[in-house]
Amino acid sequence: MSEATKPTAASASWFYNPRLRGLVSQALVLALLAWGLYVIVTNTELNLKHLNQSFGFSFLNQAANFDILTSLISYSSSSTYGRALLVGFWNTILVALLGIALATTIGFVAGVMRLSKNAVVSGAAALYVDIVRSVPLLLQIFIWYALVLKPLPGPRQAINFFNALFISNRGVIGPKPVFGDGAIVALALLIAAIIASYFLHNYARKNQEQTGKRIPAGWISLGLMIAAPILGLLVMGWPLTWDIPSLTGFNFSGGMTLIPEFLALLLALSVYTGTFITEIVRSGIQAVSKGQTEASQSLGLNNTQGLRLVVIPQAMRVIIPPLANQYLNLTKNSTLAIAIGYPDLVATGGTILNQSGKAIEIVMVWMVVYLSLSLGTSAFMNWYNNAMKLVTR
């Protein structure tokens, strides 16, 4: 073969050079993006000028001038916009955390029921999943709201438990603990008890591995966690009083209130997310090979023990990642609170947006908060997946 006919790099046209093509297309994409951003920014500047507005977060220090239905931190209508957003944030966290706890409980119970040998039990779980999944969450929130709020009696005819807990169409109102000076000691003892139980569990496991003897660590730590704060309170002369609600005129004063909007949202979110968790738990348990169940049976464990000690710990490996995803979904879905007026982050933000017209800033706050929650969740999932990777010998 002569030198001339040998294919060389130079003989292929530069037009077909993959590296060059890649660079050019990326440059084009970047240029397009820059142009798009430029157009958006200039348009926004013009529009804001027309509306006599400017971009910036200084409005967060202005007085909010609106009331918020329920708040975990102190707030009045003279507080700032920033404070109002913070109230909304904590309300979101509250409903999300309680919803996660409730949805997990519902999901695990229904997931185990779904796999029951008993046709009625598994059928009930299947019916629950099929029906609840097929109805939009927003409609379910409205239905719970109409179901929870409307049939309840007014404050004067409230369902009364020992003159301390009242259920009416104003929500569930119960005694509120008021901590005086010295209660901090009880808190410190509680934290100490939690740390002690952690070490106790470690010791119990090691002890069992070496001697085969079991220490009832669970019961001991439960006892510790109850006894320690009570001891602290006793030592400090019981600095704990209860603010008991009482009926004054047409409404209650004092106490702690769970408003009906909150209850409706919490129930709807938990029952809806529970269906997804049910399916996750079911498939997670099914993913554990049948040999494990048989092995646990041949060791003499009964069904409950086999499930609790052998199957579920292994199923958790499969269950946790999608479960974390559902927790995130529940948190995101809690934004539907705006439809019934529970003041979460989006609802308070929406009110501020309407009052101040600061659309871009408010939407940015929302995005940053929810994006950090989801990025945090995916970071956790990556860490968990790595930690739980099957180590085979």
Binding site: S25, Q26, V29, N43, S116, N118, F142, A146, A359, M367
Partner: protein, 371 residues
Amino acid sequence: MAYVRASEAPKMAAPKGTIGFAAWAKDKLYPTPLSGLGTVAIAALFLAVSWNLLQWAGLRAVWSAPDRELCAVEGAGACWPFVFAKFHQWIYGLYPFEERWRVNIVYVLGVISLAGLMVPSVPGKRWNALFFFVAFPIIAFFLFYGGILGLPVVETDYWGGLTLTLIIAVTGIVASVPFGILLALGRRSQMPVVRILCVVFIEGVRGVPFITVLFMASVMFPLFMPPGVNPDKLLKAIIGGGLFASAYMAEVVRGGLQAIPKGQIEAAQALGLSYWKMMGLIVMPQALKIVIPGIVNSFISLFQDTSLVTIIGLFDLLGIVQAGFNDAKWKSPQTGNTGYLALAIIYFIFCFSMSRYSQYIERRTNRGLKK
């Protein structure tokens, strides 16, 4: 050969307690006493709920009445006349009465084309898909909006009810398929700039709630436009829904792409196909077939999420039903409950049948792959 049996041995009866209703009940209803207790408790709960529902929705319900009068009586059950009276509005929204035939034509065209796409044995999938995804949206838009061929213009403010819900959901999903494919390809691209942009878009949109995307589309989008341009409320909702669905669709398509063996890509490259030919002729046809159930599931989610446009002031199915509660002619204690129940049934029928369809396709695809 006398020792060989000439006839079959007589069949013996099955051991006692292994066949028949009693054995089935023992196995399925009370394998253990505790389980039996569960059966009784659940059955009792189920009967109690059904009985109350039957009482309220059937025995004590009002079936025909000209207005709220009969429904407002103390102890009356469901107020069905409200549903009958409002049903047309639930379907068509405030679309002018004499123009509703246009909506009906769109429904008929859509149902025929969609049925052809969904039933595996109907031929002409390619042409049908082309019609449904390209021609049908254009035809539907001009039929709804009018303004050509002498059809009077109907502004989008009058569109509503189930029709609006379907418009937003179908447009969103139809738009999300091509965008989702591009995003999924971009996410697997060799080019870092493209890959990073796609990942940022997909994770950014998936990380925030739908309602914030809708708010963004409705309050921020007008600020991005040249001054004086204020897009239609419906258009903004559709853009929001489309963006949201695209990000989720990208992940669905990525799942399909990951299921294609690497050998397919290498074989296509060995044949000298370009990137787009390889994707269009070899990879995508296989990947998309796998993700059909995923697309149907995305549609179910979007169909349910569409109810959120109520919050930004559009009258979709949920919005129009709620608007009816305030009608003085029908206001009664039971109107709201009846409306919600009817609404839940409508949504259930749509979503449940779609999810069953997606399970059917999934089984069918798996069967094909196992061969």
